[in-house]
Symmetry: D2
Subunit: 147 residues, 4 copies
Amino acid sequence: MTEIPFEARAAAIRNTLEGQGFTRLVDAEVVSIEPGVVIMALDRRPEVLQQNGLFHGGVVAYLVDNATTAAAGTMIDRTKRSVITAEYKINLVAPSSGDRLTCRAEVVRPGRSLTVVEAKVFCRIDGAEKLVAVALATIANLDLKTA
Amino acid sequence: MTEIPFEARAAAIRNTLEGQGFTRLVDAEVVSIEPGVVIMALDRRPEVLQQNGLFHGGVVAYLVDNATTAAAGTMIDRTKRSVITAEYKINLVAPSSGDRLTCRAEVVRPGRSLTVVEAKVFCRIDGAEKLVAVALATIANLDLKTA
Amino acid sequence: MTEIPFEARAAAIRNTLEGQGFTRLVDAEVVSIEPGVVIMALDRRPEVLQQNGLFHGGVVAYLVDNATTAAAGTMIDRTKRSVITAEYKINLVAPSSGDRLTCRAEVVRPGRSLTVVEAKVFCRIDGAEKLVAVALATIANLDLKTA
Amino acid sequence: MTEIPFEARAAAIRNTLEGQGFTRLVDAEVVSIEPGVVIMALDRRPEVLQQNGLFHGGVVAYLVDNATTAAAGTMIDRTKRSVITAEYKINLVAPSSGDRLTCRAEVVRPGRSLTVVEAKVFCRIDGAEKLVAVALATIANLDLKTA
């Protein structure tokens, strides 16, 4: 029984994310996928902003939702299980200005049925990264036969 | 000193929401704005889905973010104050299938500096509304001079 | 195969709650256990207050933790499964004054592996109930053999 | 105008925490108070456990509530403002066994009106610290005249 190498699993996660209709609409980028850590980002353009020219909170939440779930997904055998977002909390701690929004999600504790993931979201402003949101997510692992 | 009638305030909130670049990208609709209650919705199309043909969690979060903040915004005098999302938690309780996604946000308790808002999100499946997400949000009121 | 009547299941839940060391220390009361709804309460005394004479936030959280988990527990077959708190969020929306604190937890959606529960906490002040906290919890169901 | 030294402010926070009726009942300890970081702990005894001999979730929440609020309190001028817990979310990620429970709360971002604080809770088991809970809190700053 051969285990699937992490590179192949990461490629499958990337394909899933990039193939989502909403990811294409938002035009987000999968920056990197490592065991337990996923980074996603998107560049500023008028279509992802709110009325004051800041990145929309819904865009921040989109990144958190996808990056946390994908980070949890790096911990499972995708031939036997899948991951779905059970819930998350997000604190918007500063105005999301700047030219690029980046979310870094990291698994706090993988579990058999639930994986807890933290995320931090940063804006790049004049070349410096500023923290704009913090999140805490619970991702459920489903057995493929029962999903 | 004349108070602004609710209809005018509701129209201003609607204009703000509909003018957001991200709202246009997502193509969401402001269904109704009443004191303490805001309903937003959007129809199914491939651009708002994830890989399994369900509404993307980021779309659900977008509706929650906007509807809860707008609901809090109905409680304030917008000539003196503004509202921003401080944080929210969202539980995705069932698969977001169906042909239309609707979020109903309702103020639980308005406060001077913080307003707490609940939201429920429903999918319309074969004409019936099914609960797919529950959320709880904290919206901050800012004095316009200090905002 | 005989199903255990709800009354017997409710009695077992009550025994579990009342037998907890911490429940005895806090001196909380299980007011009622119905399918999907559990109410717990405790009376004011100096040992459950904070520095300003309000019920301590930790006491509010204790009620939420126990009542939400017990409410989820009413939905399962306790001979085969058990419930544990996965996570919850609590908003403290008003000062917890008054002479009695009551938490009402109600299942929003029972699931096979996760049950989502809402809770509201009230203070009795001069005979009237005032909302002081709102919570949203995720309770995990564990199969007894794998727990 | 002389600023109050941090040592005096930390002593005032410690006195407040240790003077709470509920802190005495729980018999918790303020381990340390540094700018932006507060550590609290308590030792295992039957009165703080649940039915399976684990630390009760309400005890974990008590530590999170107090330590996060106190951490936010280290960032303000207590002669002009006070802090209250607006909300928090807690994930219980592993069974709270062991002989001592410790919560470390650290400010993520202090704000004028809201301060966001993260907390991690550990159990000491056979001398090693194991992560059992993660939390994310929003603490409100109140001007003393309006509080």
